[in-house]
Structures are given as C-alpha cells and as structure tokens.
C-alpha cells in the first residue's frame, strides 16, 4: 500500500534518518493492510511525542481537545430564546413576592399545565416519539427560566420577573412564552380573588398584581446551549490527556534531537 509509505513520513526526521530505509524494507516485505497503516500512525505519533517538550505536548493536547469540541458543537441544535417580563404592581415585600411567584410557578409549570401546553402547541414532535410524557415535561421544564429582575421605574426599584423559553423554532418559542405569561397572570388573578374571598373583601387587594411589562419577544439570533461547556470540557480534557502523555514520555528516555 502506497499509503503506508506516505504515513511513514509522519515519523520525526531523526527517526527517518536512522530507521527510514530498513522500515521501508519491512513495509515491502510485510505489506501491511489498513490495521498496519493505523499501527504506523500510532508509532509515528508516539515517536513524535518522545521528541517533543512537555510544554509542546500539553499545548497540542489542549488545542486538539478544543478543536474536537469545536467540531462537536457544530452538531448542536440552535435554540431560540423568547423573553417576556412580568411587572409586580403591588407594594408587597420581596419575600412575599417571591413566595407568590413560586406558588404560581408550581401551578403554571406543573405536570398538568405543561402537558396541556405541549399538546396545544404541538411541542417536541420528535422527542415525543422516544420520551415518556413525564420525561418530556421535565425536558420542557428545563428550557423554561423564571427569574427575578431588577427593574427601575422613575428611579424606584419595582420588582419584576422574566419568563424565558428556548426552542428550536423561534415562532413557537414566542407562542410558548406568551402562553406561559398569560397563565402566570391568570393564576395571579385567581389567587388574588381567593385571597379577597378569604379576607371577606369584595375587591381583590391581597395579590401581587402581575402585569405584562414586555411582551414575548420574537428572537432573531439563535443560541447554542451548552456550547461553552463543551468547549471548556474539550480544552480541559485535551490538556489532561496532553499532560498524561507529557508525563509518560518524560519517563521514557528521550532520543537525541537533531
């Protein structure tokens, strides 16, 4: 195989000068196949590494890890994040607001509500083929973010919350966020009515008064969730493997450099 002679050129120059002729004679006699080609590649890499400084091995390991991770990220599904902001109208304390939002979240992001939403908006058609309903609900829940925001109006801090959802289709992401914030507001009204009823009041005054401050956005640019983690893992893994190789080859007697 001509390929074997080409691959043999991957050995370092000092090695080819010393063993190149006899190695070529061996290839003529043995005529190795593809497994032999792989073995020559492995041997050439090992021989290159014995002649490299530990720093160079480490740097190459890190770069190779980063490059592999970079290629892996090309296969990530782009996600679009739609965002809406809910403004809290009441003057309740932060703790009370947080408790109320958590209480509403338990309902809106509960099993029944999310299952209905998945059906209504026909979310995750592919995932539905391979996941159970429980898994799908958990999967969707992981893509929803509800978090407090620092919102200032007229120099005064007014509590607000963001509701965010990521999905491969930007229009569906927007529709889902819209459906979620509608449910947040509905639930808040229900709770306020309940509070008012329990307090014997005719008008609801005890709730936190969720209002829509910014409607669900239609995202323009996609995001790639986990890309930074993958790149960092590639870099860390490559550095670790490079470090191990550097250690192994340092323990071996290094051949003379030429």
């Amino acid at each position: 195989m001509r390929l074997n002679y080409f691959v043999a050129r991957l050995y370092p120059k000092w090695w080819r000068d010393r063993y190149g002729e006899e190695f070529a004679a061996l290839l003529e006699d043995a005529r190795p196949g593809l497994a032999g080609t792989f073995d020559i590649c492995k041997g050439a890499l090992a021989m290159q590494l014995t002649n490299w400084s530990p720093k160079r091995i480490l740097a190459c390991g890190a770069l190779a890890g980063l490059a592999i991770a970079g290629v892996a990220t090309l296969f990530l599904t782009p996600m679009y994040r739609s965002l809406a902001i809910l403004h809290v109208a009441s003057g309740s304390g932060d703790k009370e607001i947080l408790a109320r939002v958590n209480s509403i979240s338990n309902t809106v992001l509960g099993k029944d509500e999310l299952r209905d939403l998945i059906r209504k908006l026909n979310l995750y058609p592919e995932e539905r083929k391979r996941m159970t309903t429980e898994q799908l609900i958990e999967y969707m829940r992981n893509e929803v973010t509800v978090a407090p925001l620092d919102n200032f109006e007229g120099g005064k801090k007014v509590p607000a919350f963001k509701v965010q959802f990521a999905y491969p289709d930007r229009v569906i992401a927007q529709r889902t966020v819209w459906a979620l914030v509608t449910q947040y507001i509905d639930q808040d009204v229900k709770l306020r009515d309940k509070d008012a009823y329990l307090a014997g009041e005719l008008r609801p005054e005890g709730g936190i008064g969720l209002e829509l401050l910014a409607t669900a956005s239609l995202p323009e640019e996609p995001t790639y969730p986990g890309r930074n983690k993958i790149l960092f893992s590639g870099l860390a893994g490559g550095t670790l493997i490079g470090g191990l190789f550097a250690l192994i080859f340092r323990l071996r007697k290094a051949p003379p450099k030429q």
Partner: protein, 96 residues
C-alpha cells in the same frame, strides 16, 4: 506475554534477525502479529537502552539486530518473573 520489547528480545535470543524476520518469528512462537509501528517502536527503545544493537549485513536495507549482554540479562530477569507468575498461578488453580 504481549510486551513488544520482550517479544523482540525473545526473538533475538535465538539469533540475529532483521525486522521482517522478527515479525514472522514472533507470530510463530507467540501467536502475536506485531504491526510495523509497534515493532520499530520496540526496536528503537531497545537500541536506546543498549539491549540490542545493529550488526553489519550484506543487505543495505534489511538491518539485522543482535541482543546485547545487558539485553540478555534483562530478558532473563523478566522471564524469571513471568515464570514465577506462571508457577504461582498454576499451583493456585490446582488448589482451587
């Protein structure tokens, strides 16, 4: 025994051989087919450690190698260890 350096030393213990002859000999006595990269990796390391040395040959391209005294000592030591391992393993198997 699958350490390529030991296989090469064991092959050369019989007499001088070039790369392909070693490969065939090892395949015959150990049923292990060393790839060219693995074989020459072992040859390189063994020569650097002074356990084998090249010898003059009529064929310019097929370079034969010879085991040195240090190489023979190392092989003897390694084989003794293996021998102890084999004996221990066999006796324990009989006891079980």
């Amino acid at each position: 025994m699958s350490d390529p350096t030991l296989l090469v030393l064991a092959s050369l213990a019989e007499g001088d051989k070039h790369g392909y002859a070693m490969m065939e000999d090892i395949a015959a006595f150990a049923q292990v087919r060393l790839g060219p990269g693995t074989l020459y990796g072992a040859i390189t390391r063994l020569e650097q450690r002074g356990w084998i040395k090249p010898v003059a040959s009529k064929d310019d391209r097929r370079q034969p190698y010879r085991i040195t005294g240090a190489g023979r000592e190392h092989l003897t030591e390694q084989l003794s260890q293996l021998n102890r391992l084999v004996k221990t393993g066999q006796s324990r198997l009989k006891e079980a």
